[in-house]
């Protein structure tokens, strides 16, 4: 097996990183630490990934551990299943979430079910990374946000970091998880901001949300690229004297129901923001959680500010598809003045 050829001296303990750098850093770290780690996907080796998520990794870790594959999503996920049951820990990149569907059968029927079908004799500790979401003027069909196609699938977990810190911590947690984890990476956030990220290894617990803003009047729930929309909306609302609490869900399955319940019990109102289609979106799951856990506290119907029930439009119209701070503020006012 290829050995780590270079060792990285780390003098500092934290570094300014973008989300994409944090992702890269997580993989580099795990490639160093765990021989079983194999990174594979289209254009991830020599080219370093179309977003540079795997930049430089093949150079350091070699072609056996950072593998350029054929253009074949079912092949990537299907062989990853074989690698995973036979002792490796594959991290498969799907170039865009909108191109994951050819692998849907492998994920739905095998990645998620092998533990159950074999009563835990065979397990598939693997990670699937996929950039997702609209708003970067990408060509059509590159912008889907279809997380619920995976949260509905028992046997896998789904995480979606919005910040560099969470991205590194969640990806490492995913790579160490005994079960398959889908990591959705908001393309819009890849380079949108830098923050301090520890240079060493750490994890962010899968299944835990993050309170990114405390508030009293209404709870905003968002993830991925929508967190910053929620933040902007909260700022606008503040000017109108409305105090918003914001939860960044971070993990989409299993959801941190407790954090949601606690917050809504306090604020008594909720607005959910997601860029996925309205019908069948994760917003519904969250409404159900609130229904189950905070029914008597709720003072107004929960509002959902979401993508519409239309395919994500071509980029000239994508701004009209995506939730905006203004739409969120409208939602906030609606729940407040019910």
């Amino acid at each position: 097996m290829t050995q780590v050829k270079e060792s990285h001296q780390k003098s500092e303990t934290a570094k300014q990183m973008t989300l994409i750098q944090a992702i890269n850093d997580a993989m580099r770290l795990m490639l160093e630490e765990d021989d079983r780690t194999v990174i594979l996907g289209e254009d991830i080796g020599k080219n370093g990934g179309v977003f540079r998520a795997t930049d430089g990794l093949q150079e350091v870790f070699g072609e056996e551990r950072v593998v350029d594959t054929p253009l074949s999503e079912a092949g990537i996920i299907g062989t990853s299943v074989g690698l995973a049951v036979n002792g490796f820990r594959p991290v498969a990149e799907i170039q865009f979430l909108g191109f994951i569907y050819p692998a849907y059968e492998q994920i739905m029927t095998h990645v998620s079910r092998i533990r159950m079908r074999s009563m835990s004799r065979f397990t598939v500790p693997m990670v699937i990374r996929a950039p997702y979401g609209a708003g970067i003027r990408a060509p059509e069909i590159h912008s889907d946000s279809t997380e619920t196609l995976f949260t509905h699938m028992p046997g896998i977990k789904v995480v979606c970091p919005s910040s560099p810190y969470d991205a590194k911590g969640l990806l490492i947690a995913a790579m160490e998880d005994p079960d398959p984890v889908l990591v959705l990476e908001p393309m819009k956030n890849y380079r949108s901001k830098r923050e301090e990220v520890p240079v060493g290894k750490y994890t962010v617990e899968i299944g835990k949300g993050k309170l990114v803003r405390e508030g009293a009047d209404v709870t905003l729930i968002a993830w991925g690229a929508m967190v910053s929309i929620a933040e902007k909306a909260a700022e606008q609302a503040e000017k109108k004297g409305i105090s918003c609490e914001i939860i960044d869900l971070r993990t989409l399955y299993p959801i941190d129901s407790e954090m949601i319940a606690e917050s809504v019990k306090k604020t008594t109102r909720a607005v959910i923001i997601h860029e996925a289609h309205h019908t069948g979106g994760l917003g519904n799951d969250i409404i159900s959680i609130i229904n189950d856990t905070a029914f008597l506290y709720l003072r107004a119907p929960i509002e959902r500010i979401t993508g519409f029930d239309v395919p994500v439009p071509f980029f000239s119209l994508e701004e009209h598809y995506l939730p905006t701070p203004e739409r969120v503020v409208e939602g906030i006012e609606k729940v407040l003045h019910f």
């Binding site: 594959t69 074989g82 490796f88 092998i114 533990r115 079960d179 299993p254």
Partner: protein, 351 residues
Amino acid sequence: MEHNYPIKRIIDDKGFFVDADYEEQIDEQLVKELYYHMLRIRTFDRKAINLQRQGRLGTYAPFEGQEAAQVGSALALNDNDWVFPTYRDHGATLTFGKSMATTFLYWNGRAEGCIAPADRQIFPPAVPIATQIPHAAGAAWAEKKRGTKNAAIAYFGDGATSEGDFHEGLNFASVFKVPVVFFNQNNGYAISVPIEKQMNSKTIAQKSVAYGMPGIRIDGNDCFAVYFETKKAFDNARSGNGPTLIEAVTWRKGAHTTADDPSKYRTEERAKDFVDPLLRLEFFMKNYGYYDDAWIQAINEKTTREVEAAVEEMEKFPPPNVEDVFDHVYAEMPAQLAKQKEAYLAHLGRK
């Protein structure tokens, strides 16, 4: 194209050598091993059909007619190899070491039926057609990465070659030159669809050309051809020469499953082309002095007893455990699921 892929045979329908090169390599031990396993799995298969008719087993997929293909290939494996079977390959997995009782359990809707002994790497049978093919490539890739001499075998039918997963799996295997054997049982039909409607190519072996991979076509009812050609493909794989596609031409004697009625879609016309593989080996044994009535009598009794014992074991097996509905989804149960489990157990009046 077809002429590039003649059907390789070692013995003919009457059990005479057509390829004398093998005379030396075939000894009594091999002959008896092949015969024994073929008889054994046939006894199992017929029993299973019977049990299904009596309502003691769920829908069952019989393999009668394909015993040579399954036993010949399974005996060519090493103990540490990986096996990726379909729902029709329990003849192969029984031969490789899965237990009869476990196999019966599978057909009784029990997840326990997926679990082979700890020293045998046998995947749960593939139900969605062709999906196991990339798995086999992946498991073989892992062996290559570790630098072992282990290999993998993927079993699949003629119909499976139409699925994208067949194509993607073979392409990966050839690109990364992994030690895997793609073992196709061309039994003429995918449920009701004959091979002529499944593909326009005259053989399955020629599909190997698309992957720059060796492809061979063998008489799947000639247990020797199956055994030696599979071994050759494995030797090749273990030596680092990558995958092989083997087309074993055979015939599904019975129905697709016990829920199927083949008289709706096929006449027994083509069945005439296929001499029963066990009978053919008997001819051979008689022709070359291996036939031993007493031994056959003995193994007949032995396998019958084994099958009966397995039925008993299956029927005495503890009833399914409700907890298992919940317990094997994640290593650590998420809170939501734990709540669902708790509520359901409470509903059942437990805990």
